[in-house]
């Protein structure tokens, strides 16, 4: 199909076609983001006061922390990522989203699934697998919701008017089918027909790595490679480097995940360690693409909210990648394993990289998609700085503290209790960081809900205007009324 500019839909038409699905996805996502932050904050406070809310089984640390993590990942990251992916695919393919009712249904199904899953965890029905804690009542709706949304994304992609591919499309198309495969494998092999023994742990690690590192990387990088050049007005540098980054990323990052020293035959951790070392190649490639694209344009775009969010996101991607490489290196891993260094890297990746990128994308696309400005757009700057402070205050103490804890754990002459005690000052700072993160999330939530509210008011106004408007001759309703009068 040749590109015919006169018949191409306008950017506005493409944007508006995505309106309801994106509002459905982001509205719920913003809510789960806040819920997850609240859970995470309560869980973190329990370290400073173990008796805090200890009498309630639903709020015990072992249930609350996984609930907080899953609310962030399944409640916010996945739906926000899918929403941005759908919109990006529509925009780049010059194809509006048709049949928007299905993605809206899917989005609502998704949020119901997350609700069921989180309730399942806090009442004690967690599956026991890290990052896969949702019981069947949550995982099944989520899976089918994703399938529907991915199908819509593939339809947009397959029916695209512009046949030449822009780099972001590779990343997003790969992400669309990545999740169903890993999620169905994990659920089938771990929960439906459980494999024996430690193989459960291996598949669990494979799944968690492919979701947290590969999937978020694909969607986040796809978004970054679109927004950074677009917002800075520079071309992407370059097509082949981005292609190289894509290939090496999916080839190498998918094999990371098995920790060194795991109770599995040595070939598995060895393969993972080699893959983690090879991760430097896509990291370098992504860093080069990002740096070369925006070099010289950073100062002039200092005021541009989405640009700052996404640029920071890409920086955090590279940092989180370096932390992951450190954790995978067999010389360093005895110190970082089983310590807070791991959660620090996860948070840096999920929140510092992915969530910040999604924030930037949302602040750019939601006003265009809905056609209304954010009610509190000045809060964007506050949100950015609070979130950045929160990330720094959370990740840095936990990373340093994790190394301190690890060094003490490695020394058998140090009593175990000392390694936990040594963490307390670091945990205090990270709890403060979580508070900042919660505040930033609240600001985002307020903006998104405010936008939804304004949109609903606009709809209401339109509906009222339609009801009140005098009927014009020649309109369908007028002729219908005329026929009715005639028959009567």
């Amino acid at each position: 199909m040749s590109v015919n500019n006169t018949t191409n839909p306008s950017t506005t038409e493409i944007d508006r076609s995505c309106c309801v699905p994106l509002l459905a996805l982001f509205g719920g996502a913003a809510l789960w983001l806040v819920v997850g932050s609240v859970f995470g904050l309560i869980a973190s406070i329990k370290f400073h006061a173990p008796d805090f809310l200890a009498n309630c089984a639903w709020l015990t640390y072992g249930r609350l922390q996984p609930a907080a993590d899953d609310a962030l990942l399944y409640g916010f990251c996945l739906p926000a990522g899918l929403g941005v992916a759908l919109w990006l695919l529509a925009r780049i393919s010059l194809t509006p989203l048709r049949g928007a009712i299905i993605p809206v249904v899917a989005a609502n199904l998704w949020h119901l699934g997350v609700l069921a899953g989180l309730i399942g965890i806090v009442i004690g029905d967690s599956t026991g697998f890290v990052w896969l804690e949702f019981p069947r009542g949550g995982s099944v709706p989520i899976f089918f919701a994703y399938l529907l949304l991915a199908l819509w994304g593939m339809m947009i992609f397959a029916g695209r008017r512009e046949r030449a591919l822009y780099p972001s499309q590779w990343f997003l198309v790969a992400a669309l089918f990545w999740f169903p495969w890993i999620y169905s494998t994990a659920n089938l092999f771990l929960l439906t027909g459980p494999v024996r023994g430690v193989v459960q742990a291996v598949i669990g690690w494979w799944f968690a790595n492919n979701l947290l590192v590969v999937w978020t990387g694909l969607v986040g990088l796809g978004a970054a490679f679109y927004f950074l050049p677009k917002l800075s007005g520079r071309p992407l540098q370059s097509h082949y480097l981005a292609l190289f980054a894509f290939w090496t990323f999916i080839l190498f990052a998918t094999w990371c995940g098995i920790p060194s020293g795991a109770p599995v035959p040595a070939w598995m951790p060895t393969l993972s360690a080699a893959a983690t070392a090879l991760l430097i190649v896509p990291l370098l490639a992504v860093g080069l693409v990002g740096w070369r694209t925006v070099w010289g344009a950073v100062r002039s775009n200092w005021d541009n909210g989405p640009f700052c969010f996404i640029g920071t996101g890409l920086d955090c991607f590279c940092l989180a990648g370096l932390m992951l490489m450190a954790m995978g290196c067999p010389k360093i891993s005895p110190v970082t394993q089983f310590t807070w260094f791991g959660p620090a890297e996860t948070q840096l990746r999920l929140y510092g990289f992915f969530a910040m990128t999604m924030f930037g994308a949302a602040y750019y696309l939601l006003p265009r998609v809905v056609g209304i400005e954010f009610p509190f757009s000045k809060l964007m700057r506050v949100h950015y700085w609070i979130s950045l402070a929160g990330i720094a205050l959370f990740v840095v103490p936990l990373a340093i503290g994790g190394i301190v804890q690890g060094l003490k754990l490695q020394d058998p002459n140090v009593a175990f209790a000392d390694s936990t005690k040594a963490m307390l000052p670091f945990l205090r700072v990270s709890t403060t960081g979580l508070l900042f993160i919660l505040l930033g999330n609240l600001l985002f939530f307020v903006n998104v809900i405010g936008l939804t509210f304004l949109w609903k008011i606009t709809l209401l106004k339109k509906f009222l205007a339609f009801v009140k408007s005098p009927l014009e001759p020649g309109s369908a309703d007028a002729s219908l009324r005329h026929d009715q009068e005639v028959q009567a």
Partner: protein, 283 residues
Amino acid sequence: MKNGFLVFLISLVALGGSWCGFVLAPVSQLGADKQTTILNSSDPYPIGRPGEANQGLQVYRANGCAACHTEQVQQSGVACDVILTDNGKNPSAVYQACGASGMVREYRAWPVRLPITVVQGVNKESADDAVDKITTAGGKAEIHIIATGSDIARGWGRRHSVAEDYLYDSPVQLGSLRIGQDLADVGARLPDANWQLIHLYAPQSMVPGSAMPPFRYLFQVRKIGPVPSPDALNLPKEFAPPSGYEVVPTAQARELAAYLLSLRADVPLRDAPFTQPLAVSKP
């Protein structure tokens, strides 16, 4: 790339590769139901957990204990000790063999009371060497295999955890953070069910300064009946209920304690060998 199908194909190959490597291959290699035997014996390992302990695993899972505790012992190396078991007909030659390679300090009296460690913490080649020297001198010596590592030194296990240790667990609760101690061998380390129950109810009473939250909802505080319950916990004063009341564990608490007592990692296996220690005196 212009071709969308090519993108899809490459992604398929990439994910398919790691799926084969980390899903298919481990399932085919380790997935079959396989008991092994304890090293140098025909006793099978592992034997399944008794019923209450199996229920306890579900309590462990439901309360997210794996968020703070791991169940995997790590081993950073392996070393050999050489134990002298027989002086033979020529004790002085054997002493020379031991002392010639600088293996033992001056003994006040020789022959010493056997068996005795003469070499500690060397690799296999050096140990074989030492045994050869001793055997040539007419004595008899044994090599003992010792696992080394900080987990082993802390007494958290005798050797690293292997796949057979988790054969009958579903879900496997390996854990990823050590905010609390590793629990792979806790059944051998703390075999007292009462200790476990009191620790669950009031962790700070057993481990001062512990960050573990009290699991009071697994227990029932009730009025003492005509006779105090035999299950009632014997708590220190600061944590005890008001007078006239007793703390009794619920079924869940007892199951969890049974599960913790069933956790052991102290038998040698072919893939995690170590020599069961005898009463050996050191130089």
